[in-house]
Amino acid sequence: MPDQPRVQLRAVSKTFASVVALQGVDFDLKPGQVHALVGENGAGKSTLMRILAGQMSADHGRLVFEGAQSDLTGSAAGFHEGVGFVEQEGGLIAELSGAENLLLAVPSGAVADRRRAGRTITELAERFGGAIDPHLPVRQLAVGQRQRLEILIVMARGAQVLVLDEPTAALGTDEAVALGEIIRKFAAEGGSVVYISHKLGEVIRLADRITVMRRGRVVGSHESGTVTVEQLATEMVGQVVAKESEVGQEELLEVALGVRAVATTGTETKRICAVKGMVAPAPLPGEAALKGLDLDVHAGEIVGVAGVVGSGQTTLAEVLAGFIRPQGGSMVREGKDFAAYIPENRHRDAVALDLSLVDNLLLHSHRRRTFTQAGLWFNGDRVREHVVSLLDDSHVRYGHPDQPMRALSGGNQQKAVVGRELEEAPLLVVAHNPFRGLDVRAISEVRDALLQAAADGAGVVMISPDLDELRQIAHRIVVMFDGRIVGEISPDDQDAERLGQLMGGVA
């Protein structure tokens, strides 16, 4: 019965604290099918798939898997053998080798035979394409290799369902193509694939069926040929109640569709920052050091920095922010020696979750003379007034300025960070993956803040692995590879081949 669904999820509901994540969701998956699940962040895609994979229990709902019924609620739910969930963050343990990760996923008795596990990986890699050393620690592999390894491990487990969460977010073009091939081969052998993404163009190319989710519900499901990108975007964003936001329906749709928000400028303005031959050590394992990087930033422009994750983007951001002392090269800049910095990892680098909004937003301005008496004690009233107006200006939705940062949603946290960083009219702004994890509305608000900063004369460096994001708001895009800038493209340039070569270091 090839047309019978392999997976049937029925009436799945889930609530976190007071937030409804899923509300009566039905979902079908057939053998040999590539089924895309689209929707903005927070729509409930990942939650649904975690429940399918048995990582989380549902409040209501049941699952029919290959004809076998099971309850998804309470302790009845458990780790599901047949489903392999490849998450965005990566489910492999970076310190262990591929073979060891395989052994953890597919135990083979009391003895852990690393050599045999390594052979299994090599064989699978030959079958589906791409070579991986199974005995290297995972952290020494490139991002694309890691992802492929994780998919191979899922296959080695004998799972019939492969779930991929935003798999191309961190990949270069070549690697994305290779990934597409593996997915096709897996489906051709009868496997089923769920492909979570918000990149609508990609989804239409790759998927057989597309299901759209919004706010915990399924709002549409289509065969791939029967639907346009515009239709999908409208379903994803939904109807906006005018009062709810200052951002209009049209703008949200533009963001969802990736319409360009700026014109390409050709005019040279004042140079804000000139980096020449920069050499600097990487701040994290798995990130590249800078090996002679050149970059100019001018007033009023947004420079997009593209490239495969791990090409030295974090190093560049932290050098510009003044956190890493360069080992060589030069950096000449206007004004102060540091930049407004919106880090990629918000919880680790940008906010203190346990501290109040006031404490978090005072990070730079606590030095202002007007807020303190003799620079020693705070003037409570002025500080409070300032923070409240800053929060309001940044469109942060909050209950009380004394509540801890933890109580805010990700989008509001990010808006607070952006507001704080941009408040003192900086000359240089560094935004590393600023839209990561945000929904369309928050993206459009953060985007507007960055555009405004550029319009006010700042030079903005926006780093993102997502080329579509950069195309929306960057005036020009430079491509990074292994600690260097290897080329520059115009945002209008659709030459995918050249871009892929640049990102892969073939320049």
């Binding site: 343990i93 970076a94 310190e95 262990l96 060891e100 052994l103 953890l104 996923a105 009391a110 852990a112």
Partner: protein
Amino acid sequence: METFEAVMNSSVRLMIPLLLAALGELISERAGVMNIGLEGYMTAGAFTAFAVAVGGWGLAPAILLAAVAASLVAGVMAIGAVWLRGNAILVGFALFVMLPGLANFLYVQQNNQGATPKLHLISIPGLDDIPLIGRALFAQNVFYWMAIVLCVVVYLLFSRTQAGLTVTATGHEPETVRKRGRSPRMVQTMALLACGALAGLGGASLSLGAVGSYQPNIVDGRGLIVIAIVILGRWSVPGAVAGAFLIALLDALKLRVTQGSDIPVQLLGALPWVVVILMLVASTRMHSHAPRTLTQ
């Protein structure tokens, strides 16, 4: 040459308690639990072994019960830090303070100050005649041979078995272990119990082997030294052996040096601790096998 032989011999003897406890701490740290309370486990082992042996129950039960008693203490750590999610550092510190206090209290209160039966040397005929190192390596008490066997067992545990791999994985990423359908808490509990048993043996080797009795504060900070040994040994068995031997060698030399010169013995008491600090500084340069949950 005679001096060398004597120093080797006493180094190996002094190494035994450190090595046994280090094997235990190695397992628990690999599982992602830092045990400040190791001192407490060792004390529990030392006192139990002493009490049972002096009570006339025989040496084998003394050793066995030492391991059991220390495991029970480790069980308190498991309940407090793993199951009830208490602060692991403070729970460990509480045990660090409480158990030496409890053992000293019971010792003083019971007023039972006999000596334990002497342990026989077990030697391998032929090999113990090797000049210089023969007696040190092949004629030692039962704890030495236990330590040798346990070193091999723990080494194989981590290099060859699924259980060892799961323990390592738990130390790096408990969440991934959970997603694979196994309970990280259970893994950590088992690792702690094993750690307790090994540390208990280490304690017993102090009271039964090295001292031949109990004395207040018998462990005297060795639990802390062991933690440093494990860190410097990069969470590996050969590293633990090397670290334990290094500290023991310093101890042995200390005894020698003070006999033959006027360097004050009190000042040399600080030496192992200075070495421990230097070891920790040196170990920050190498993070290869460090369990991720402990380095964050």
